[in-house]
Symmetry: C2
Subunit: 179 residues, 2 copies
């Protein structure tokens, strides 16, 4: 049975107060457990691509899930964008802002050939800080970024608009407001 965006949205569980009071956490684990829901999310990501890239890049850790399934569906390779310190080879890194302080994302400097086309995937876009860091990494590595896709958009936090304002192509499947 094929599922649509309403089903994907319904399968995402909201958990109030995680990781701290006041946050409405959008939990994709319940979507993943539903085989039709998981398949529909991957299909939705695939359908949103403007072209088939050479590589799908996934952002650690929940982004790995959707990026790996999408890469498998498309028959492309998979590029891992990880928290700084996790990759064993020579890396480039980009800092991004958290609510308090900063964090860094990294990728292997030799992960993609110059000019390779890369599409970035994560589970959720909020303020867009980590997504923007991932986009910059891919571009610094000499690849051609074809766009960024997310299962969940929190439009009140403005991340998708921020990225679009900088010229990036952004595709999202479902929205949750009030965050």
């Amino acid at each position: 049975m094929s599922k649509g965006r309403d089903d994907i949205r319904r399968l995402i569980r909201t958990i109030p107060g995680f990781p701290k009071p006041g946050v409405q956490f959008r939990d994709i684990t319940t979507l993943l457990l539903d085989r039709d829901g998981f398949a529909a999310a991957v299909e939705g990501l695939s359908a949103g691509l403007e072209e088939k890239p050479d590589l799908i890049a996934g952002i650690e850790a929940r982004g790995f899930v959707f990026a790996a399934a999408l890469a498998h569906q498309l028959g492309t390779g998979l590029l891992l964008i990880r928290k700084q310190g996790k990759l064993p080879g020579a890396t480039i890194a980009e800092e991004y802002a958290l609510e308090y302080g900063t964090d860094q994302l990294a990728m292997h400097i030799d992960a993609c050939a110059p000019g390779a086309s890369v599409h970035v995937v994560d589970d959720l876009i909020a303020t867009g800080g980590s997504a923007l860091a991932a986009a910059r990494l891919v571009q610094r590595a000499g690849a051609r970024l074809t766009g960024l896709s997310f299962v969940i958009d929190l439009p009140d936090l403005g991340g998708a608009d921020l990225l679009r304002g900088q010229g990036y192509s952004v595709h999202t499947l479902v929205e949750f407001e009030g965050d």
Copy 2:
């Protein structure tokens, strides 16, 4: 072009001295970047299954990659086994030994229906501590564990033998000795 186990093994890069001196780190990121190599690894994991389970369980974080692609290939749901503190809902946890100290893996207590069949996937088995913790979590949740699969086995560290000795079905794709 279909690739075999020799190709999978060749595509895994060895990086000496990560994360510390004396360790030969087996880096799967180079396998993932090769679309045929990645597809061959997922196909190899699929071919090793004795039955199609209800759920594929992936262990954070590299295990998510292979588990997600395998679940997508099989058309099953995906269960995330994460580091303690990462899952937003009510969890059960299992401790396992590290070289110095301990760590914990957790899963949502309501992640699978009683009697559901679950197959655990990770990228690598070394001493088997995290794999055994994952197996126990699945069983404590009331599921039927159909087995555990790994892309890489480090047989000198004895993890696969440890699990088999406890009655678990274990499948691995390639071995690296001398670790």
